[in-house]
């Protein structure tokens, strides 16, 4: 009786969808860490005798469990390599964006005045223009290198962190406990790093979780359009892009990365929403 009550309590706290989402994300992280070790084949190795082989369940062999592409490369291995690249780029991008945005937000909140105005103007300008346009412009003019690409992806979304960090720092400074610490004689560094940042970190992390799928989508969209990750590296977007040409005779090349991509963004979105709802029950 009490065991089942405890079980019910756990299920209420951890809905099964969320558990599945966490499992999926954990799997993806595992793949990101050990893609090379987990791959049955080298993701670039061609096997011209086994081109366009279907997955095992659709008449293929277990040697190429998820089939092969037009050059006979193992789809599973390419998928694992692509997950790694897509996740790493998105992760790097999120870290760049959140750090930059939070720092600018704090500086704007602290110094106010013209600096604040300038930051907010940039925030507004960036919010007014679809980011993909900015990314396309930069890539068009400066050419496409991996470093530049990661920086471009990193610039995505900084304005949401800047706005959040600035707004919350300002409102929290008006809150009692910051006043109390300042009254005790604390210096700004101590106030921002020890009291403000830890108190808004939850919201920033939730924002990062909710923004992460968008960063993945930006990366894959650009790669899909041929303007992101370049061969020989492979991203989920690339795979979808060239798989498009084989929809008639080898659907798996495009559909499998698409499913992986959708599941990943879905899982991270669900977790983000769930964490947000738990932090702020009034939003439910």
């Amino acid at each position: 009786m009490s065991a089942s009550a405890a079980g019910r309590a756990i299920r209420r706290r951890w809905p099964s969808v969320i558990v599945l989402a966490f499992i999926w994300v954990a799997l993806c992280l595992l793949v990101t860490a050990f893609a090379t070790q987990l791959s049955p084949h080298d993701y670039q190795a061609m096997d011209l005798r086994a081109r366009l082989a279907p997955p095992a369940m659709f008449g293929g062999t277990w040697n190429h469990m998820l089939g092969t592409d037009e050059l006979g490369r193992d789809v599973l291995s390419r998928l694992l390599a692509s997950i790694r690249v897509s996740l790493l780029v998105a992760l790097a991008g999120t870290i760049i964006g959140s750090t930059l945005g939070t720092a600018l937000g704090f500086l704007a909140a602290h110094f106010r005045g013209w600096f604040d105005d300038a930051v907010m103007m940039l925030v507004d300008a960036q919010a007014a223009i679809p980011f993909i346009i900015v990314a396309l412009t930069v890539i068009a003019f400066f050419g496409n290198t991996l470093t530049l690409f990661v920086v471009v992806v990193g610039l995505y979304g900084w304005q949401t962190y800047a706005r959040l960090a600035r707004g919350m720092a300002m409102s929290i400074t008006r809150r009692g406990y910051i006043n109390a610490v300042v009254a005790l004689g604390a210096q700004p560094m101590r106030v921002y790093l020890r009291h403000i940042l830890p108190n808004i970190a939850g919201v920033l992390i939730v924002n990062a979780t909710i923004g992460f799928p968008e960063v993945i989508l930006l990366e894959t969209a650009l790669s899909f359009l041929g303007l992101g990750i370049q061969p020989p590296l492979s991203s989920l977007g690339n795979m979808l892009s060239y798989g498009r040409s084989y929809l008639g005779n080898a659907w798996w090349i495009a559909v499998l990365p698409g499913v992986v991509l959708s599941l990943t963004t879905l899982a991270v979105s669900l977790i983000g929403d769930w964490v947000r709802d738990r932090l702020d029950p009034t939003l439910r």
Partner: protein, 311 residues
């Protein structure tokens, strides 16, 4: 009423445009010789010299900047190096196609998203709500290019119902429009739902009931107008998504609009065209946001009050 506020919004819009133009200039200047960038690497020295002179690149930077802005203001974005015609002409040719697709997608998006959000909020926690929320999360998570591929795979490759691309038959617009609408509809459904729930939580709802008003009337006359205001602010954001969605969708479905044009131009570094499209989209977005802001002032008396206080 609120004249000061409107003026301020207008100035802000102009300022944003100025920032965009300036950033384009900075990008253009710092990415190498603009003559080569604009004319392409196979330009002859005479062409380059001519270009330098025409755009004033042989003069000091501030003059160049002024000349650049003057050119932009005259609609001169340079010539497409692919077919030698002015970039604006190339872009204008494609514009009607894009507008047609985007407006159909936008209408679909609102027609699905808003009612779904309202009904979900009113049936909060029940089956319909869960269905809408799940659908919205799915719509948001499945990337548009994957949705496009699935649609092509099923409707064109398997069942041969619809053409897989181009703009030759009237039915060709259906799949691209669905693709564009799907993600945005999810976003707007969620946002409308949240705005409705927020309005439902306001103390005045309980007060209305306490004054003897019935539930349907309270919803219709008080909750929905209050929820409409924040929902409106979403539209600017949605338009941004619409532009991004158009670029991808047009590319996948080979729809001859400016979205596809910008991708081919970026790939071939036809920078005059890229620049023209970027500024065109930026202007559209800024104008759209301005319209939304003004509508906001019109709909929310509290905004007008704020404007009055300023004076």
């Amino acid at each position: 009423m609120g004249g000061m506020l409107i003026l301020r919004k207008l100035l802000r819009a102009l300022l944003t445009l100025w920032i965009v133009v300036t950033l384009t200039f900075v990008v253009l200047r710092s990415s190498g010789d603009p003559a080569i960038v604009i004319l392409g690497t196979d330009a002859t020295p005479q062409m380059i010299a001519q270009f330098h002179h025409a755009w004033g690149l042989d003069r000091p930077l501030p003059v160049q900047y002024a000349s650049y802005i003057a050119h932009i203001l005259h609609g001169d974005f340079g010539d497409s190096f692919l077919d030698g015609r002015p970039a604006l002409t190339v872009v204008a040719e494609r514009l009607p196609n894009s507008l047609e697709l985007a407006s159909l997608g936008f209408v679909l998006m609102l027609a699905i998203g808003i009612p779904a959000g309202v009904f979900a909020a009113l049936h909060r926690g029940r089956m319909l709500d869960r269905l809408v929320v799940t659908g919205a999360v799915l719509g948001h998570s499945v990337p548009s290019f994957f949705l496009a591929i699935l649609l092509i795979l099923l409707l064109s490759v398997r069942w041969h119902v619809l053409p897989s691309g181009g703009a030759d038959s009237p039915s060709a617009i259906i799949m691209p429009a669905i693709t564009i609408a799907a993600g945005g509809a999810g976003v707007i459904a969620r946002f409308t739902r949240a705005a409705m729930l927020d309005a439902l939580r306001q103390p005045f709802v309980r007060a209305m009931l306490a004054r003897g008003m019935d539930w349907p009337r309270t919803i219709r006359a008080h909750v929905m107008p209050n929820a409409a205001i924040p929902t409106l602010t979403m539209i600017g954001f949605l338009l941004g998504g619409l532009v991004a969605g158009s670029i991808i969708t047009e590319t996948v479905f080979a729809w001859p609009g400016i979205g596809r044009l910008i991708i081919t131009s970026v790939a071939r570094r036809d920078l005059a065209v890229v620049q023209c499209i970027v500024l065109l989209i930026a202007t559209t977005m800024v104008l759209a946001n301005l319209t939304v802001d003004l509508l906001y002032v019109l709909l929310d008396p509290r905004m007008r009050g704020a404007a009055k206080e300023d004076r």
